[in-house]
């Protein structure tokens, strides 16, 4: 931990060296979470300001990236979540573990049923599907998929138990698959056999 006698100049220097390089990563997660550029920028700014204030508390040499994400996640949950929240219900009953496999196997039999589906899905479709996820699921999916954090790191960042991280990631994936599949059916990439 930094000594109390550390000058402001030294503090700035170490903060700029250790924390600022992570801004890109924080910003891309902020974009997925807030879904718009203005809020994402505000969120990142607020997170960095807070991080700077608490910089003495950060153990140099430990994981600055995870620490910054934890701060940003806190700011997001406290200040952004309620703003843009709309009531949303998630039905995970009908999403069993084999659901995607079953769908693809019946819609496009062959060696690589997923190939023809995947080839047609666009970047933007995945973005939309991710942004449709309820926030709690989206957060763990983004932290895992985009940022590559481990379950344990996500648990610390989002202040969740390991089991909750696993189950949210699991459900998040299922919901994401369902979105993508619905999209593919809607656009006629695959036939709808669900009915």
């Amino acid at each position: 931990m930094a000594e109390p006698t550390t000058t402001i100049g030294e503090k700035r220097k170490s903060f700029e060296a250790e924390a600022l390089p992570h801004m890109n990563a924080l910003y891309r997660t902020a974009l997925r979470m807030t879904k718009n550029v203005n809020d994402a920028e505000d969120l990142v700014q607020e997170a960095f300001v807070k991080a700077f204030r608490f910089w003495e508390k950060f153990q140099l040499g430990s994981n600055a990236r995870a620490w910054l994400f934890k701060i940003m996640t806190n700011v997001f949950i406290n200040e952004y979540r309620s703003k843009s929240r709309s009531p949303m219900s998630v039905n995970v009953d009908d999403l069993d573990d084999n659901f995607l496999y079953g769908q693809l196997a019946t819609t496009s039999p062959g060696d690589n049923p997923e190939k023809q589906l995947f080839a047609k899905i666009l970047d933007d479709d995945v973005k939309k599907a991710i942004e449709k996820l309820p926030e709690d699921f989206r957060l763990v999916v983004v932290l895992s998929f985009i940022e590559g954090f481990s379950y344990q790191e996500i648990a610390e960042i989002a202040d969740l138990q390991l089991g909750t991280v696993k189950s949210r990631l699991h459900r998040g994936r299922k919901l994401l698959q369902k979105e993508l599949l619905d999209y593919a059916v809607k656009n006629g990439f695959i036939k709808d056999t669900a009915k």
Binding site: N24, R53, Q59, W67, N78, V92, Q161
Partner: protein, 265 residues
């Protein structure tokens, strides 16, 4: 290892979070099970696709202006930072302390936290407290006579039966408590390690705030609302005339599957 056991580990394997032994066992299974192998491959390629697409949309072209904004904000902080009254939150605070601290901070006005700090947080602190207290002293809580009386009470008032054993946990005790101005029946289930509090109260005596509605989940024909109070996990759901609130501090415990109540009307 059978198919179900292998599939249960699917995501942990894909995420490289499974133990070495599990990974080897699953590999052995996949070597001889075409069906599972296909499922694993499908999930893996879907994962790869989603990750690749996400990376593509996550490339940020220009962030310099944001960096400049942050730096100029830091300049402003430099001037005011070293005030002796300034308090900072350490990275790791045990959630127990956090829950306790939160109520304290709210009492003193929360000035330096600004607008944030979990508005809904305060709402359920009494429920959390009751759960913590009961969980800490399960023996002090269990009184066979009291428990029986409370059970009979909710039976006649709300038409609910409560199971004595559920999901490997057994009913340790129950009593009536006034929480948030509502008279609730508070039961504790435990197995020596885990404790789950089950609060039962008349549904019309309790309104759920809007901000919980986002966490609505439908399972087994029931609608659940779950709420993480940082340190305490609460799940709300209605069962006939009753509102049931379950609380645990072990988030790994699937509360939405923990519903020991059965409607007898």
């Amino acid at each position: 290892m059978n198919c179900q056991e292998a599939l249960d580990l699917l995501y942990e394997i894909i995420d490289k979070e499974a133990s070495q032994i599990d990974t080897q066992e699953v590999q052995k299974h996949l070597d001889c099970c075409q069906d599972c192998l296909k499922k694993f491959q499908l999930e893996e390629s879907l994962q790869a696709l989603v990750k690749e697409k996400l990376k593509a949309i996550s490339d940020i072209p220009r962030i310099d202006h944001l960096k400049a904004k942050v730096l100029s904000k830091l300049e402003q902080i430099d001037v005011t930072y070293f005030r002796p009254s300034e308090k900072a939150t350490p990275f790791r605070i045990p959630s127990v302390a956090l829950a306790a601290a939160a109520s304290f901070i709210i009492l003193i006005g929360a000035a330096f936290w600004g607008k944030g700090l979990y508005n809904h947080y305060t709402d359920y602190i009494p429920i959390e407290r009751a759960h913590w207290a009961a969980a800490k002293n399960v023996d002090g809580f269990s009184d066979a006579q009291k428990t029986a009386a409370v059970l009979a009470g909710i039976g006649s008032n709300l038409g609910l039966n409560l199971a004595h054993d559920f999901k490997g946990l057994s009913l340790r005790g129950g009593q009536s408590e006034e929480i948030k101005g509502v008279n609730m029946a508070h039961f504790v289930y435990g197995n020596g390690q885990e404790t789950v509090s089950v609060f039962v109260l008349p549904a019309n005596a309790f309104t759920l705030p809007e901000d919980l509605m986002q966490t609505k989940v439908y399972l087994n024909g029931h609608c659940y609302l779950s709420h993480n109070c940082r340190g305490c996990w609460l799940v709300f759901h209605e069962e006939g005339k009753a509102m049931i609130i379950t609380a645990t501090t072990n988030h790994a415990f699937g509360l939405t599957e923990f519903n020991p109540a059965s409607n007898i009307i």
